[in-house]
Amino acid sequence: MRKPFFLAGLLPVLVTLFITPALALDLAALIRDVEIQYTGRSSHAIVSMQVSTEHWQRTMEMESWSLGRDYFITRITEPAKDRGVATLKRDKDVWNYLPKVDRVVKVPASLMGGSWMGSHITNDDLVKGSQVDKDYTFQLLHEDEGIYRIEGIPRPEAAVVWGRIVYTLDRARRVPLRVDYFDEDGVKVRELVFSEVQQVGDRLIPLTMTVQPTDKPDEKTVVRYRDITFDISLQDDFFSLRNLKKR
């Protein structure tokens, strides 16, 4: 199971929001600034995730909380069969809580690349997605009056999944339009497409993210942030295994 999704979705957005004003300067420095600016930042969201595969289609409703880039909890509220299933991410570890058996199960390292909740998002997306600016070096690929296109190449020592990530940003609104992921052989593996850009508090964010695996054009996962609030009051002890079990 996996659940790294929301952070992964939020991060490129946040990253791009903060990067763009200083693109002409030093992208890596900007990303570090972004990281510092976001420490201690918190959010609460109601999210729906619609997963379509060759064999089934289902929509899940979830409630999620995050604190900084290291802490994250999400809990399924619909459908009834999976209600109460929750995921906790603390630093690089991911746990799932299963209400049916009242147990917490840690996702082992060997399954971090597996699908989260049957979606096209992996556990790694949550864990690795939250430190993209640490693991990758960035360069501006393309710039015109409409967009910026930024390429991320993993640092040699970084233990990452992707061989290359290409971010496309809306220049005027400073929001991401899409992210393309390539494997180590340079073959495109999947794409994220962002839409429904809206003003939330003092910033613009795309409320919808679509994950599309390249090798399965008929399959996709659509994540919609229905209700998102930033800068809520949360302590890191909220993101505990004990709290994960609470319904």
Partner: protein, 409 residues
Amino acid sequence: MLVQLAFRNIWRNRRRTLLTLSALVISSSLLILSLGIFSGMMEDMLISATEQYYGHILLSSPGYQDDRDIYLNLPEDPALLKRLATQPHVQGISARLRSFGLLATGVKSYPVEMLGVEPTAESSVTHFSEKLVAGRFLHNDSAREVVIGSGLAAKLNVQPGEELVFVGQAADGSIANDLLQVAGVFNTGDSSHDNGLVITGLKWLQDILVLPGRIHEISLRIDQALLAPTIASTLPHMTSDGDPLEIFDWGKLLPEMQEAIASYDVSRVILACILYAAAGLGVLNTFFMSVLERTHEFGVLRAIGLRKRQLWQLLLLETLLLGLTALALGLLLGLFMTYLMCRFGWDLSSHMTAITYAGGTILPRLRAVFDLANFTVPAFFLLIICLAAGLLPARRASRLSPMDAIRNE
């Protein structure tokens, strides 16, 4: 007349003949015995490779065995199972469902392969129930019970009676999870199964995966594993509903095992050649000596009208007769020794442990099995060697001029 002559000739020097004969008899019977033991090891490996997991023949949806896609499943098809049961050679049938997921206890969790089976049917095909080191096998196919490998039990630190959590993904996309009790722990000697295979009830797995009435494969046990490709080709290629079936014999599922067995056929011939090379030189020596000694006699034979060709035939007949005698005695002795090794065997478990090779496990014991080729190959090569060893002396004798030969004392 020639045969009679040849027969008398070989018994003229009784001691020499008996010595040569005993060399041939001992080398051929030892060869038969060692081939029988080799066959026994191969059979142990084949049994461990097939009867510990796959079975001899597998029927599944086309493509299922390649990537084990949960959706490439089949209906539970009682009519098909009944039809398979009536096929000749088929001794056991087990319908199975498979899933990959996570088995966890406390903070430890490991990826596992769950194999859902009906316990009695599975025991008619594979031998997990005989490989238990703790606890018991499954009682029925719907209890929330598992039998796990010994390596996995050690990693999770669980004993029979303790609880585990299974987490996986159901066919409808939902999260499959349940609490399971460890019924037993098996140890097959195959580390990949001991570390990651979990046997559970078919009905329970169907429920948890939301695949009611579906299975992934039908595994068969047949009475002669080596005939699997032939028997597989006679089986029905469709379910009762007309869905196609892909049929694998163990050779396709375990290509390394098949290669190991093919290489055994070659090593059998090589072994025969090596053992017989020494015996063959003995025969060659015997006949050269006998030809040299009898030069005068050959001259007389030629002088009284025996043709070159007949002399040549006489000498070859002598070696052939010696060979046939050796063969008869060697086969008898070989059969007897193989029978003893077959019946009683030799337990080596105090000296060595089981070895896993090519997907099969070589057990720490010596035990022979009867395999016709283990007798025909040594027999064939024994005759070839005798004739080859007789050829040179025969040629030499037949080329002597009668005059020279008679003068030779």
